[in-house]
């Protein structure tokens, strides 16, 4: 399974959403898929799964607003 797919599956599971409602470019915060605790648990997932750490400065929409952005951010850290 590729990175985007894994991240998307995590978000679907965490947000109890239907698979077809989340696309790679869906804005996950604007669409209410993840709130602040949801984002915190996503960071925990990324840390456990890919062993990456996120710092204060990296916490911005460019890195986290969609599956595409998260995957790009994670790839840049691997």
């Amino acid at each position: 399974m590729n990175l985007k797919q894994e991240i998307k599956e995590y978000i679907i599971e965490a947000s109890l959403s239907d698979f077809d409602k989340i696309k790679d470019e869906t804005l996950i915060f604007d669409n209410g898929l993840l709130d602040s605790m949801g984002l915190l648990f996503l960071i925990e997932f990324l840390n456990e799964k890919y062993k990456i750490e996120v710092n204060d400065q990296e916490l911005n929409p460019k890195n986290f607003e969609s599956v595409n952005n998260i995957a790009e951010f994670v790839e840049g850290k691997l």
């Binding site: 915060f29 709130d35 605790m37 984002l39 915190l40 204060d56 916490l59 607003e65």
Partner: protein, 326 residues
């Protein structure tokens, strides 16, 4: 204090025109709520030397007279020394009897400090609970469209600052541990209220209630909340009118919960009260981003993101305002 007539959005939109009328209206309602609804004969107010509890104490004195109001100070080992001194000054000004109930040993019994420090040490391994000061804060810019996440900040005795984003498990444990403070205070306030057949008068303002900046069954536990409809700048306006000591009015609002100094802006709100009050008013009264942005000196995108932040805060904290479901 929303006006049903839609006024043009301006920086003066929240200013209370007739402060005496508003004060009297709150006092009359408070008196009626406590006497007729709650059937209690006086008021217990937890006083911290902060602006909200000071205004609530002053309103309670107007409603019940100073002999029927008891101010209770509830310090613990992390409280600022100023808090008790200012609370005492307030009580003297309004001729109210006070009690000091130090809750440190109760918190020790709960393991409040130990559990909190253990969680902090998991994130910052060289954290020294005795020498270092600690606080949690939101460091993100409210103008950016992303949910708020907390960081832990440690200040070493030599002034060195170490800050890290809090992982979920540690964040939850730190919050759950420190919430013992507000919940222990609520227990003590109700003890005294029951001994005297008084009501507990809550101190949260409109932002605390609506953005969820309170602890469920902690400072959110009260019989009546007389200033829950007031914006923070309106609380200040009322404080001046009621004669709250100037030192309290001039003091920067803090949480007085963590060992390091922490303003409410750093901890939760992410913007000054003067701005937040107006933008929140704009948001909840349906003013468009285009109407609000020029008045606040911000871009339309910034106001859009702040509106989204408010919406998220209210939605994620719905749980705190809910009654038990049955």
């Amino acid at each position: 204090m929303n006006n049903n007539e839609r006024k043009k959005f301006s920086r003066d939109i929240l200013k209370i025109e007739d402060i005496e009328f508003v004060s009297n209206k709150i006092v009359e309602k408070l008196k009626n709520d406590v006497k007729s609804q709650l059937n209690r004969r006086g008021a217990i107010v937890g006083i911290s030397g902060g602006i909200d509890s000071s205004v609530v104490l002053a309103l309670s004195v107007k409603a019940f007279g100073s002999k029927r109001v008891l101010g209770i100070m509830l310090p613990e080992q992390d409280s600022s020394d100023d808090s008790e001194m200012l609370a005492k000054k307030l009580a003297d000004k309004f001729n109210v009897n006070t009690l000091v109930e130090n809750i440190t040993s109760a918190l020790d019994g709960f393991g409040c400090y130990e559990r909190r420090d253990e969680a902090i040490s998991n994130v910052i391994t060289d954290f020294d609970p005795v020498a270092d000061k600690a606080k949690i804060e939101i460091k993100q810019n409210i103008n950016e469209n992303i949910p708020a996440i907390f960081s832990i900040t440690i200040i070493k005795p030599d002034g060195k600052v170490v800050s890290k984003l809090l992982p979920a498990k540690e964040y939850l444990k730190i919050v759950a541990s420190t919430n013992f403070k507000q919940r222990s205070r609520a227990c003590m306030l109700y003890y005294h209220a029951e001994c005297l057949h008084y009501a507990v008068i809550g101190t949260p303002n409109k932002h605390e209630v609506e953005q969820g900046f309170f602890v469920k069954h902690g400072d959110g536990a009260a019989d009546v909340m007389p200033i829950a409809g007031l914006y923070k700048t309106q609380v200040y306006q009322l404080a001046k009118y009621l004669g709250v000591p100037q030192e309290i009015i001039d003091r920067t609002p803090t949480t007085d919960t963590y060992t390091a100094e922490q303003t409410q802006e750093d901890f939760f709100y992410q913007m000054p009260f003067e701005e937040m009050d107006l933008i929140w008013y704009g948001w909840e009264n349906g003013y468009s981003e285009e109407e609000v942005a020029p008045v606040m000196g911000k871009t339309v995108t910034e106001i859009k993101n702040i509106y989204k932040n408010f919406e998220r805060k209210r939605k994620t904290t719905d749980y705190l305002r809910m009654r038990p479901i049955f």
